[in-house]
Amino acid sequence: MEEKKEKTMQKEKVGVYICHCGTNIAGTIDVEEVKNWAAKNPNVEVSRDYEFMCSNTGQELIENDIKEKGLTRIVVASCSPHMHEKTFRNATERGGLNPFLFEMANIREHGSWATNDKEAATQKAKSLVNGAIERVVHHEPLEKIPVEINPNTLIVGGGIAGITAALELANAGNHVYLVEREGTIGGHMAQLDKTFPTLDCSACILTPKMVDVGQHDNITLLTYSEVEKVDGYIGNFEITVRKKARCVIEDLCTACGICEEKCPAQVVDEGYGAGLGYRKAIYRAFPQAVPGYPVLDKENCIYFQTGKCRACEKFCPTDAIDFEQEDEMLNFNVGNIIVATGYDLFDPRRIPQYGYGRLENVFTSLEFERMVNASGPTGGHIVLRDGETKPEKVAIVHCVGSRDQNYNEYCSKVCCMYSLKFAHLVHEHLPETEVFNFYIDMRTPGKGYEEFYHRLLKEDTHFIRGRVAEITDADHQPGEEGKLIVQVENTLLGKQQRIPVDMVILSAGIEAREDAAQVANLFKMGCDYDGFYNERHPKLAPVATMTDGVFIAGACQGPKDIPETVAQGGAAASQIASLIGQGTMMMEPVRASIREEDCSGCRICNNLCPYNAIEYDEEKEVSKVITALCQGCGTCVAACPSGAIDGAHFTNLQVMSELQGLLWDVQPAPEKVTA
C-alpha cells in the first residue's frame, strides 16, 4: 500500500483527446468545456478536442503528440471501447508507447446518447474523463499474448448462408464442421417454390450446392445435431455437439426410402411442409435431402409410443434401423465460428382478426410456397383447404406482423417482393382468378425488383393501398355469403371496402428465432431488441460480432433476401479465411498473477478459479497461476485475503484510482472527516 501511494505522486504526461463524433457527442456534451477542464489536471500535458478522433487525422494527433511532446499516457474520450479501443491502442503504439498505456472514456454510448440533458451530460463526461486520467496514470506496459488460430471452423445452421460459407472455406482448403438442427440442410430456401424477381426454381439452384456440401472432403456435416457448449476463445474454441439419435445407422443406410414408404404413422409436417402436408414418423424432409438418410421422430413413432410396429426395421434391406441408438456427444476444436441460424416466420395466429387457424382458407406465405410447388402436397395446384376447389378470388395481405408496434416494428423487407411473386404465380396457374394485393407501401428496392412490380401491374393485379383491418366470414351484404371478406380502407379512395374472396394468403414477416437469446448466450453474442444478433458495426463490420472469432451471416442478423444472405455467408467466410491465413492472433494480456512473497498459501483462490488455472506449490506453500489457462476474469483477485493477486490491467490500484477520479465532484472535504 505504502509503495503504491508514492507512485501516485509521480507525474505522468497524459494526453487527453475529446472526440466530437460529428454532433453525436458535441451535440449534447460541451466538448470545449470538458477539454479545458481536463487540461487543469496536473497530470495532463495536452488536452485537445477533435471532430472525429477515429479518423486518420485524429489518430495522427495522438501519434505526433507522443513523439513531439513526450506523452507517456493517452486518454481518448469518445465511443465505447468495444468500438474503437483497438484503433486507439494501435495509434498509441505507432506513436511509440506501449498500447496498454492508453485508456478510453465512453462519453457517447454512456453519455451523449443516453440523455438530452446537456449540463448533466457534460458533467458526466468530465467524471468519465477524469476517471480515465486517474486510471491511466497507473497503467503498466503489457505485452499481448500470441494465440494460434486453429484452421477449423464451426458453422451453425445449414441454410443458404451456412452452405455458402461452408463451401467458400472448404474450397479454400480449410476444414468445416457444419451443424444443422434439422435432419437435412437447405433451410427455408429449400421450402420455397420460385425466387423473386427472376423466378428461378429455388430447389434447382439450391440442391446442387447441398450436394456439394454433402460430398465435400473438407466438410464434416452434422445434421440433426445441436451445439451444446462453447468454451474457449478465438483461435481455440472447444465445441461440444449433441448428435441426436436419428435411429438410423448412417453407414448402413442407402437412402432407398423403403422405411418411409412402409411406416404406418402419418403426421402433419409442421417443419419442411409448413403444416400443409403430411409426412411419416420416419422421414426425409424431401427427396433431395442432404444427407439422404432419414430421421425417426420418436414422438410420433408407433413403436416408441406403444411398443409395437417396427415396420421400418422389418422392411429395411440393409438393417440400418437402430431403435436403441442414443444421442452422441462430439467434441472438437475450432478457431472460428459462424452463426447462421436463420429466422422464424411470424405466427399469424397472434393476430386473431386475420383468422388464421380459425378460418379454413386463410393460409400463411410458407403454406402457399408449399402449395404452389409441384412437389408439394397439392402437386402444385392452387386450391382451397378442401384440397379441390380452385379459388376465383385471392387476397394477398402484406405486412402481417411487420411494421406494427403490437408485434414487430421493423419492415421484414422481403414480403412485398414475395407477395408480388405470389400474385404472379396465381395469375400463371389460374389465369381466370382475380388477385388483390393489400399493401401499406410497396417496397421494391433491389436489382430488377421495381421492374417486377411493373410486370405485375401489367398482369392486372388489383393493388389496394391499405392495411387490412380484418378478415371475417361474417357476411353483412349480398354477395358475401360463404366468402372470406377482407375489410380494409382503400386509402387511395378514402373509403372502407369489404372485398369477398375465396382464399387469403398472409404475407407473414421474418422474426428472430424463438431461441435466439439462448443461442446468443451460448456464443457470447448480443441480441437487439427484436432478438436479431448484433453485428460489431452496423456499417463497417456487418458480419463480425463483439466476440472475437464469432461471426454471423444471414437472416439471424435481420430480415434479408437470398442475395444478401449469400453475400453475408461469403463475407463471413472470407474474414475467417484471412484470420486462418495470419496463423496467429494477439490476445489481450489481461491475466492474473500471484506475488509469491505476499501469498499466505490459504488456497481460497484454488477452488474459486472456474478454469482450474491456479495450482498450489506444495514445496513453497504458495499458489501459482497457470497463465495459459487463465482467462482474466479477476474473481481470484477480488477474493484474495492477502491482496497477493494482481489482475493485469484491472489492478486494485487502477480501479480504485478510476473510482476516485469519477467522484471528483462529490468527494467529501477532508476536514469533514475529522469533524
Binding site: W113, N116, P610, G634, T635, N652, M656, Q667, T674
Partner: protein
C-alpha cells in the same frame, strides 16, 4: 421547480453483458438518468467489496453492480460469486444503517439495454427519495470519527 437532489451512482459493469447493455441503451438512444458513472470490469466477480465501500466513502450515493444472468457468465460463474459477496456486503451495510436501496445488483445481458436503463432510472428515483448518503456523518460519526484518524495516522 425546486432544486432536486441528484444522486451519484457508481456502476460496476461487467465487460461482456452489462457494459454492452449500457452500450446498447446508448446506441438505441434510450434516454435515462445521467446519474450513473460506469466502471468497466471484466466480470462482476471482480468486484471487490472494498470497491463498493470506497465508492460510498468517496461520495457516491449508491452503487450498482451489474453482471450477466446466472448461468450466462462469460467466466462460467463469476456472477454467482458476485452475488455471494453482495449478500454478505449487504449485511454489513445494514449494520451500519445504510439503506438497502443504496447498493443494488442487477443481471443484464448484452441485449437488455432497456433493462439496464430502467434500473438506473428506478435506482436514481429511489436515491432521490432517500437523499444524500453522507457517509462521514452516518458511518463515521460518533464511534467512527474516533477510529478513522487513529488508524491512518
Amino acid at each position: 421547480m425546486s432544486e432536486q437532489f441528484e444522486p451519484v451512482i457508481v456502476g460496476f459493469l461487467c465487460n461482456w453483458c452489462s457494459y454492452r447493455a449500457a452500450d446498447l441503451a446508448g446506441t438505441s438512444r434510450i434516454k435515462y438518468a445521467p446519474n450513473m458513472r460506469a466502471i468497466r470490469v471484466m466480470c462482476s466477480g471482480r468486484v471487490d467489496p472494498q470497491f463498493v465501500l470506497k465508492a460510498l466513502r468517496n461520495g457516491a450515493d449508491g452503487v450498482l453492480i451489474a453482471g450477466c444472468h446466472p448461468g450466462e457468465c462469460h467466466y462460467v460463474n463469476g456472477n454467482i460469486k458476485a452475488l455471494r459477496r453482495y449478500t454478505m456486503l449487504k449485511k454489513t451495510l445494514d449494520q451500519w444503517g445504510i439503506e438497502e436501496e443504496r447498493v443494488q445488483l442487477l443481471w443484464a445481458s448484452a441485449s437488455e439495454g432497456t433493462k439496464l436503463a430502467e434500473k438506473v432510472n428506478s435506482m436514481t428515483e429511489e436515491l432521490r427519495e432517500l437523499g444524500p448518503l453522507r457517509w462521514h456523518e452516518k458511518v463515521l460519526a460518533d464511534n467512527g470519527a474516533a477510529h478513522v484518524p487513529v488508524k491512518e495516522a
